[in-house]
């Protein structure tokens, strides 16, 4: 890995981290659910770029195709279908509730950070595996997915099937 | 009927959407407003609102002479103006108890059948255009231009011809009339074939038209539907057969009918009617008799121009007819 590449990764990481965080905050703070959904998409796209930087291009593509391309369209679709007016949102939480929520959120973040710190230090100084630098191609992933993790994979497909059936049963007014 | 549908849905559906289609909408051709109630992509209820093209023709006719009304009848159904002329004139002629000479009748038949073709062409074209096959409209209009040329040739106008007059025609047919009509007769069947190739068996067209807008024959009659739509419902009824006028009983032609009364049947009926019209035109064209083109009843039909210029009596007739309109005491005399 050359130095420019390394710098490049730092650059990408910092930009994308900021974008993702800002967009994520906007997701939960914006009043209009459509705009929230849009910022969530932006967060997802920036995460996909981070996946690229993390040598996981397949996951990056899947992230965009599945998350941004399908799930979020579904979200938008539902928001549009309901076509909410302002008064249908109902009242938001009270100030005190919000304050405590933010406070506990902050505490939770500190907790997580401590956990990460403790966890990482317990690994100790370790040599980075050589093969980790080689791109985790589709072949590797497929190899693992269809041998070692075949059962969970099949289970996931069953789950999807059930989800489809469930969604149709619920959304359809009369069958 | 609309009221019934509303009652059937027990609680008012909040998920339906009211869509106001028209008065100006790309597929309302002319102006029609339909208030649609949509459930997703399905129309639950449609309430038409007409009158955006209400012209008050009847009111305007109130102070016109019988002759002056003819141009107004042109503008009632402007894609089939000659047929409208004929309907009005037949009424007036029945009122006056006069009969157009045979030559005029033959020309009237030829021209109204050509008008029928032009009108059906317009239907096929715009209908296909609404379903998305834009080219058919362009082809149909191209063929219609040939017919308009014939109308222009005989009358001097492409659409609003005012060519038929009380007692016959406005002018004699010109020499080029017959060859021009013959040419249309020769080329037109191929064009119908083109439409058939483009649409009739096309899967998408079938999907869009078969089983759509079905009307049963009883409903059609109850709702006062006539013409190709009624025939597509399966009722074999044609005014040209049941109450023949202008010598339609002398021509051999078939009445095409449909089975299901859906849009596809209407389409097929109209295509077949165009072929039958060609058949009628062919027979009529072969048999145009000699003779005058108008029944010169004094006081009803304008005297010939030469007489007006030379003869004082004709001049007086001309004045009386133009200023006062035709003399209705003829009716009481008989």
């Amino acid at each position: 890995m050359t130095e420019t590449d390394e710098n490049m990764e730092y650059l990408i990481f910092s930009i994308m981290a900021i974008v993702a965080t800002v967009c994520a905050i906007l997701v939960i703070s914006h009043r209009n659910p459509v705009v929230s959904a849009l910022f969530l998409i932006a967060t997802m796209v920036s995460l996909a770029i981070l996946f690229l930087a993390l040598n996981a291009p397949f996951l990056a593509a899947i992230q965009i195709i599945v998350y941004a391309g399908a799930i979020m369209v579904l979200f938008l679709f539902v928001i549009m279908l309901l076509n909410l007016r302002k008064d249908e949102f109902g009242p938001e939480r009270r100030k005190a509730q919000r304050f405590f929520a933010v406070l506990f959120g902050f505490l939770f973040l500190i907790l997580l950070a401590t956990a990460i710190d403790v966890g990482l230090s317990s690994f100790g100084q370790r040599e980075v595996a050589a093969e980790s630098l080689s791109p985790a191609g589709v072949e590797n992933l497929a190899q693992v997915l269809f041998t070692e993790f075949l059962f969970p994979f099949e289970l996931a497909s069953v789950l999807l099937l059930i989800a489809i059936v469930g969604a149709i049963v619920m959304a359809k007014r009369k069958l | 009927m609309n009221v019934e549908i509303l009652k059937k849905t027990e609680k008012p559906e909040t998920e339906t959407m009211i869509l106001n289609m028209g008065p100006h909408h790309p597929s309302t051709h002319g102006v029609l407003r339909v208030i649609l109630e949509l459930d997703g992509e399905t129309i639950v209820k449609a309430t038409p609102d007409i009158g955006f093209l209400h012209t008050g023709i009847e009111k305007t006719m109130e102070n016109k002479t019988y002759n002056q009304v003819i141009p107004l009848t042109d503008r009632m159904d402007y894609v089939a103006s000659l047929s409208n002329n004929l309907a009005y004139l037949l009424a007036v002629e029945k009122l006056l108890d006069i009969q157009a000479p045979p030559k005029a009748e033959f020309v009237r038949v030829i021209l109204t059948e050509l008008t029928r073709i032009a009108s059906h062409l317009w239907w096929v074209g715009t209908h296909a255009h609404d379903i998305g096959a834009m080219t058919v409209l362009l082809y149909a209009v191209r063929e219609r231009e040939k017919l308009l040329d014939i109308f222009e040739l005989v009358s001097g106008q492409r659409m609003m011809t005012s060519y038929f007059r009380i007692g016959g025609l406005a002018k004699d047919i010109p020499e080029e009339f017959e060859p021009k009509v013959r040419e249309v007769l020769k080329t037109f069947p191929d064009k119908i074939e083109d439409y058939e190739n483009l649409l009739t068996k096309n899967r998408i067209w079938l999907n869009r038209t078969v089983g759509v807008g079905t009307i049963s024959a009883e409903d059609a009659i109850d709702l006062g539907v006539s013409g190709p739509v009624l025939r597509a419902c399966g009722a074999e009824w044609d005014i040209r057969k049941s109450n023949p006028y202008s010598g339609y009983d002398e021509f051999a032609f078939d009445i095409p009918t449909g089975k299901n009364g859906d849009v596809y049947d209407r389409y097929l009926v109209r295509l077949e009617e165009m072929r039958q019209s060609l058949r009628i035109v062919n027979q009529a064209l072969d048999g145009i008799p000699e003779g005058d083109f108008v029944e010169r009843v004094p006081g009803v039909v304008l005297p010939p121009k030469e007489e007006v210029l030379s003869n004082i009596e004709a001049l007086i007739f001309q004045f009386k007819l133009v200023v006062e309109g035709l003399s209705l005491h003829r009716i009481t005399q008989r």
Binding site: - | K64, N67, Q68, V69, P71, L72, T135, Y139, R142, E152, L153, V154, S155, G156, Q157, M160, S162, A170, K171, P174, D194, N197, L198, L199, T200, K201, N202, R203, I204, L206, L302, K305, V308, L309, L315, Q318, F319, V322, V323
Partner: protein, 143 residues
């Protein structure tokens, strides 16, 4: 099933072949401002008034054309000249009201008014489309 397949794999290519056939034929477009269609002899276009051989206008202001006109777009005021002959002091046609039915031409007992073949007279002002006698006579000279 066979019918359905036929409507897809046989009918659609046939439709395509029709459009392709016309792609290869020559367009029928008349390139209007450069080329014109030949009008019918009976074409009813812009009106014109005619004159005698000796240059007098034929119209005697009898009012038949105005009476015959379904849309009432002809207006005239009669007067007498020094020989005691009637003539139209004012003769106007509102070409925007006119529906070009040709009744005036049929009604005229003097062969004074005709509908010509001129059709290019659109304008951006309503008033300019009211043609007075001089303009109508000039139209006649151009014919």
């Amino acid at each position: 099933m066979f019918y359905v397949l036929k409507t897809i794999f046989w009918a659609i290519p046939r439709g395509l072949s029709v459009t392709f056939k016309y792609l290869l034929t020559k367009p029928i477009t008349v390139r209007y401002p450069e080329k014109r269609l030949v009008l019918s002899d009976r074409y009813r276009g812009l009106h014109y008034l005619t004159r005698n051989e000796d240059g007098k206008e034929k119209c005697v202001c009898c009012g038949l054309c105005a009476a015959a006109c379904p849309s009432g777009c002809i207006y005239m005021e009669p007067a007498e000249n020094e020989f005691g002959e009637r003539y139209a002091k004012v003769y106007e046609i509102n070409e925007l009201r006119c529906i070009f039915c040709g009744y005036c031409q049929e009604a005229c007992p003097k062969e004074a008014i005709f509908l010509g073949k001129e059709y290019e007279f659109s304008n951006d002002r309503r008033e300019k489309l009211i043609y007075n006698k001089e303009e109508l006579l000039k139209n006649g000279q151009q014919m």
